[in-house]
Amino acid sequence: MSSDPFERPRAADGRAPDVFKMGGWIPMRQNRDGDEVDFAIVGTGAGGGTLAARLAEKGFSVVAFDAGPYFRPLEDFASDETAQEKLYWNDPRVVEGADPIVMGGKNSGKTVGGSMVHFAMVSLRFRPEWFKSRSTLGYGADWPIGWEEMWRYYDQVEKDLSISGPINYPWGPPRPRYPYRPHPLNAAAEVLARGCEAMGMKWTPTPLATVSAPRGEAHPCVYRGFCRFGCSTNAKQSTLNTYIPRAIRAGAEIRDLAMVGRIETDARDRATGVHYHRDGRWRFQKARNVIVAGYAVESPRLLLNSATDRHRHGLANGSGLVGKYLMTQPNQAVYGKSKDEIRWNKGPPSLAITEHWNYDDRKDFDGGYCWMGQGPLPIEWAKTVTASRGIWGDELRLAMQDYNYQVGVKMVGECMPSEANTVTLADQKDRYGLPVAKVTFGWSDNDKALIRHALDQMEMSLEAAGVTDLFRQEEDANHLGGTVRMGDDRRTSVVDADCRSWDVPNLFVCDGSVFPTVGGVNPSLTIQAIALRTADRIEQLAARGDI
């Protein structure tokens, strides 16, 4: 029917895949390697894809690179956990430390559209205080951006993605109504709601980036439940089917299967372009500015791999903080059995949420967390059961037969930034001959206290909802942050509020790695809001000749 998206690049010959049509194409402007484009963007996920659209719409010439293939969801996505591992960053990475972080599907994508192609669509705003958690809440670090400004960009990204959310969101300052109505609850979400009501906590249908009614060429959600393995109906509003088509319409070029291995800098400490691997060879794209948007592992890895004699410890690393302050969000859960058939595989996994503990500060640890409904598919469920309960053999096979009765809630929590948690380079090389990332992580005492608190609360709520045979999933982590932190002091941060490197003025980093603190909610909406802000700031800087 159509070509293998892994075999050769699809975005070529003046066209790019039309994600809304099987075998479809849309015209795409292309640039030659020798053309000095305004922006070379590395990565097309929440940060890079969003920026590509906005910068192109502002009239800049843009080439955005992604190491992964360019999928058409309707024809390329199977309803299958195993087959859809093709969406993940499966290249080698070494994980170590007291609590090594499991990578791959949990937190890394390798496709045009980035990990948004397999994200769970949970689209939440930070609590306003988190942007100044050091000064207002006494922990972590202050962001160089205020919440009022971020609120405006949240408005914009929620509109751009047609987020389906509740009519009134119960926490935080007022926000405009979500562009689309909330989704119906599934049985798993109803259990969460009952648990919360029994504990006197608020809950709400989760704001999700999957449409509850048709939007343009996108079908409304059909509740197939394979969201985290790619949405084959285009209901999910990921970068792949929102900002990327916009970027191409506005004149940006997307290069799929294009792995950027190194950023070139000149003697004046300015970036001149990127070396990338495509079609079996290394090439060089000239660019006036470079934006790195590879997320919290690949972004620092690229900066470290771009070391020169003038930048011995990696590019943009005058502070020595590139790769440091890695954070990952605690993603522990409590599961149990319901007397009712739940069939939690139906619908998006996280249809209901409580953010109660993000807004309640009466706790003996720093940071907050939310929890939401769950619907793991069989393979993931088997991994959860075996890792948490240590069972195998007949016991495992029988336990798995309770699949349709299982129910659970899972936290997304705030992890404290610690200099000891890092992304560095390993001795091992990947298939491009580049040193792979070594990811070192361990929970702090505060993190552990937060996790304990969350597990207790979640367990109580499930008990209150009548769930039995409870057990805890004590090890799990998901979204990443940190490693290229932003700040307003070049000694304690890598980039400024505009995501611009303190050391290399035409180099930007714009993704989750700039987070000084990671917050207690899923980060994608915040990454995209920062990308929208960065695009506006770049326009302003360019207008006054500062770029």
Binding site: P166, I167, N168, P179, Y180, R181, P182, P184, L185, E190, A193, R194, C196, E197, W203, P205, S212, A213, P214, R215, H219, P220, V222, T233, A235
Partner: protein
């Protein structure tokens, strides 16, 4: 008031309606196209030979109101059939609206076919049951919502058993009762509906029905985010017809009401166009018509819009009655 009515009635020609009188369609087309008081023009001239009936039952209008009741009941039958199959009839009571709406349809067909001038107890019973089942259904649906976490929240109004839907069945029953009331008109008395003068009561009922239906459509189209601008039409237009019909109910003077007829006609057409729009919408859902088992249930409800047409038909009948009986 009664004497006024009698006086006025006495002043009009005793009318006879031919047994094989106008079909529903003809009635309908006639009323939409003809701004003049339609029935007056087509009625037998004074002095025309009378056959069989000596008083003025407007069997044409009776048929129309039966037709309206039937259309509403059909809409309820198909819609609750689909919606309750979503709920898989886990409560046997979920069959009740299917049975009751079927009875209502049969009663309406029977009523429309017959020209006798007295109400029939079986039809009355069918309509009475519909009225009651609709009320009980509303109570059930309300109860369902209160049982859910969140109670009367937007989420539950959007996705739990629709509060407004069973009311359509009650409405169908009421319309049927109205038809029976008009049919049962005693010589020298204006027809009655639940003790009220039938014409303004029917107009009022129509107006309320239109508003209620519009409210339900508003909720559901809001849920669908008005993603297609056409979705605003059934929210914006029927209230105009409702207002004009309500005006007729509140000031039941005997006069032509071309504006009301025009807007009722538009509302009726909207009901038909809505079916096409919903069929198109269903095709746009994932898998299109091949995935009909999902999309007929989760997509826009195809049988719902004709409720508007049924109500408009009742409105036409009310206006025609008012032209006969006006209350000035």
């Amino acid at each position: 008031m009664r004497s006024m009515v009698e006086k006025r009635l006495g002043a009009t020609h005793p009318r006879m309606t031919i047994m094989s009188g106008p079909t529903r369609e003809a009635d309908f087309a006639d009323l939409v196209d003809d701004p003049a008081p339609a029935h007056v023009a087509r009625e037998p001239r004074p002095g025309a030979p009378l056959r069989g009936y000596s008083h003025s039952v407007e069997i044409g209008q009776v048929r129309m109101v039966h037709g309206a009741a039937a259309m509403l009941a059909m809409s309820v039958l198909a819609d609750s059939g689909i919606e309750h199959s979503r709920g898989q009839y886990h409560n046997p009571a979920m069959f009740t609206p299917l049975v009751s709406s079927t009875l209502s349809i049969l009663a309406s067909l029977d009523g429309a076919a017959r020209s006798e001038t007295s109400a029939h107890p079986l039809r009355l019973a069918s309509y009475g049951i519909a009225m009651v089942v609709g009320l009980v259904g509303t109570a059930f649906h309300v109860h369902n919502i209160t049982k859910k976490p969140g109670g009367f929240s937007w989420e539950n109004l959007f996705y739990q058993a629709p509060i407004g839907a069973p009311a359509a069945l009650s409405l169908s029953g009421l319309l049927g009762l109205a038809a029976e009331g008009i049919r049962d008109e005693k010589p020298g008395e204006s027809p009655k509906l639940l003790g009220l003068p039938a014409a303004p009561a029917l107009a009022g009922l129509t107006a309320l029905g239109l508003l209620g239906t519009t409210a339900e459509v508003s909720l559901l189209h809001f849920r669908g985010n008005f993603q297609n601008p056409l979705m605003y039409l059934p929210v914006a237009l029927p209230p105009i017809a409702a207002a004009l019909t309500a005006e007729a109910a509140l000031r039941p003077h005997k006069r032509p009401r071309p504006q009301a007829k025009l807007w009722l006609g538009i509302t009726a057409a909207l009901g038909v166009a809505g079916v096409a729009a919903h069929a198109y919408g269903t095709h746009r859902y994932s898998g299109g018509w091949k995935n009909w088992r999902q999309n007929l249930v989760d997509g826009p409800p195809i049988p719902a819009p004709p409720a508007f047409s049924g109500l408009a038909l009742a409105g036409f009948a009310a206006l025609a009655l008012l032209e006969r009986h006006g209350d000035d």
